[in-house]
């Protein structure tokens, strides 16, 4: 209605340019555009431009004076550490996401099982790892894994199991970073799955029970299909965040022992900022793009589908 009125006004006032400009300023779409302008500028200058700029950076030599094309990538392909980082990133992200999803799923069921007045308290307690800033909780884990004063080793010592070199041994270190990641991320899955569980209509379970379905059948034919969407999207989100993770590995092991636990982000930081080889660091971090794009495409497809279901 206002649009029509404004439009009519602008037709009446046509010809007088200053007036027309003021009219345009009052048009709905102009106002809307101006309201989103800060957002557009922020995203364009500090997200999209750097993202494209890193592609340009990746094609330069170390002093950033000469164009070397794919030289940095070819150099990386020849380095053994690079392939180790690729493998470790994939192991780290996939294992962590699987365990986060599993633990989140199990814990969500237990919380859903107990009477609803107690649920709030348990949910509140179980989400604490997600609330603590990761850098802080990683310090606590680092102290729990300490080579000489490890509190875990003290417990193991009570049952006569020899000390474990938590962050000193390559395989144990890999286990540690995944464990901490699962510890931080599982509560998030728990909350998402709990919300999904609560949205399953009770009647479906009653109908299944009347049909004589046992626990597994109800789980397989009612709960899982109803939760499928949320499970998939949570896992994809988490895959992106875990694959690009930096804090945990950086604080717990700093990539050690001998680069065995480096993931893309920490290795890129090591090379690009600490090693002062910005182009090579940019090339390393660009290797995260394919898997991130794949996950993003799936998430986007889901959002579009739900948007079209809603309208």
């Amino acid at each position: 209605m206002v649009d029509a009125a404004v439009e009519a006004l602008s037709i009446a006032g046509g010809g007088r340019r200053r007036f027309a400009l003021r009219k345009a300023m009052r048009r709905k779409s102009t106002i809307a555009f101006l309201m989103t302008l800060p957002l557009i500028l922020l995203v364009a200058l500090l997200v999209l431009y750097p993202a494209l700029y890193s592609i340009h950076l990746a094609t330069l030599n170390k002093s950033m004076e000469r164009f070397v094309g794919f030289g940095n990538f070819l150099f990386l392909f020849k380095r053994e550490t690079f392939w180790m980082v690729v493998r470790q990133s994939c192991i780290f992200a996939i294992t962590a996401v699987i365990f986060k999803a599993l633990i989140g799923f199990i814990v969500a069921h237990f919380v859903h099982n107990i009477p609803s007045r107690g649920q709030r308290k348990w949910r509140g307690m179980l989400l604490v790892p997600w609330v603590i800033p990761p850098a802080m909780s990683c310090l606590a884990w680092l102290w729990l894994f300490d080579p000489s004063y490890s509190a875990f080793n003290w417990l193991l010592d009570q049952v006569n199991i020899g000390p474990v070199a938590w962050t000193g041994d390559a395989n144990w270190a890999r286990f540690c970073v995944i464990l901490v990641n699962v510890w931080i991320g599982a509560p998030f899955f728990m909350i998402m799955y709990l919300a999904a569980l609560k949205s399953v209509p009770e009647q479906l379970y009653e109908a299944a029970a009347i049909d004589g379905a046992n626990w597994w059948q109800r789980m397989w034919y009612v709960t899982l299909p109803m939760m499928r969407n949320i499970m998939a999207i949570t896992a994809l989100f988490s895959l992106i965040v875990t694959f690009a993770n930096f804090d945990i590995v950086r604080i717990l092991t700093a990539g050690g022992p001998i680069d065995r636990t480096h993931v893309f982000a920490t290795w890129a930081f090591w090379i690009g900022i600490q090693g002062n080889d910005i182009p090579l660091g940019a090339s390393v971090s660009l290797f995260m793009v394919p898997i991130l794009t794949a996950a993003a495409v799936f998430i986007l497809r889901d959002i579009h589908r739900r948007a079209s279901e809603m309208s």
Binding site: M35, T36, P50, I106, N113, M136
Partner: protein, 304 residues
């Protein structure tokens, strides 16, 4: 195991009627509590251990006693940190950065979400999806080109951006604004159209509709977005680690990691105290506003 318990509960319930069903249900409940306790111990162990260590003296930490118990509790670590100028500087920097970032985020994302959810214009639908996609671009992909960009700004414009705490005010909104806009679009879209039409009829302009109708109605969403922005900026680690170096410019997470660890000497009592105090603001907010916090968490994926 609960699975098994419930299965037997069902099988036997049909045979024996309601009395035994309630008894089996009680067993299922007991198993649930048992496993929840185990998970709660796993989830709460590190923060509890932080607290335990923070109450110890250095002598007790390096003694070969039970690390899970405090024999001589002391608040010495807390007193020392809270009177250390350096730690208070970190805390101040963190607080300033987080508060400013929350303000900037809200100023950018609320009008944008309003425009994108209510005032259709050319490309607005694409823009909304695009905003969501930028939320999926991790900071670990951007810090190296941003570092180089800031170095170039210094070279050409003479503005020193690296090693200044306020540069984080430019960087953090890239992490908070897309998500906050996205969840605010969700909340605004759920407000019935009749409400703003009524306001229009009464002669309200867009600013008034936003301030007097949308913000009050979508207040829970606004609180959730604020909490999200605060916790993200309080916890961010990579940007301050890459962009700030001198001790007076550091924020809390980086400050603790880089300065309390002096060479190979780890003063664990102080590190744990510092980390616990650093974790306190998000934990306090969470304790009081848990429902909003959880609403914000789930909104990202369930709305839209």
């Amino acid at each position: 195991m609960t699975a098994a318990a419930i299965t037997t509960a069902d099988a036997s319930a049909r045979k024996r009627g309601y009395g035994s069903m309630s008894r089996d249900r009680r067993w299922a409940l007991r198993w649930s509590y048992f496993f929840l306790t185990i998970f709660a111990i796993f989830f709460l162990m590190p923060p509890v251990y932080m607290l335990i260590t923070s109450l110890k003296t250095s002598a007790e930490i390096s003694a070969a006693t039970n690390p899970w118990w405090v024999y001589h509790p002391t608040l010495g670590n807390y007193v020392e940190l809270l009177t250390s100028r350096q730690y208070l500087t970190f805390f101040r920097n963190s607080a300033l950065v987080s508060i400013f970032v929350v303000a900037i985020t809200m100023l950018i994302s609320v009008p944008a979400a309003f425009a994108l959810s209510r005032m259709r214009f050319w490309g607005s639908a694409t823009l909304a999806t695009g905003i969501f996609l930028t939320y999926l671009i991790p900071e670990t992909l951007l810090f190296i080109p941003l570092f180089k960009m800031f170095a170039l700004v210094n070279e050409y414009a003479g503005i020193q951006l690296i090693n200044r705490w306020w540069v984080l005010l430019l960087l953090y909104p890239t992490l908070t604004v897309p998500f906050c806009t996205w969840i605010m679009i969700g909340y605004f879209a759920s407000i019935p159209k009749e409400l703003d039409e009524a306001a229009l009829m009464d002669g309200a302009n867009y600013r008034q509709i936003l301030m007097r109708v949308f913000i009050p109605v979508a207040l829970p969403g606004l609180i959730a977005a604020t909490i999200f922005a605060f916790t993200v900026s309080w916890a961010q680690f990579l940007y301050p680690l890459a962009f700030t170096t001198s001790a007076d410019q550091l924020v809390l997470p980086v400050g603790i990691v880089t300065t309390l660890i002096k060479g190979d000497v780890f003063n664990w009592g102080q590190i744990m105290t510092g980390a616990l105090l650093g974790a306190a603001p998000p934990l306090i907010i969470y304790a009081f506003l848990m429902d909003y916090y959880i609403a914000g968490l789930t909104a990202g994926a369930t709305k839209g």
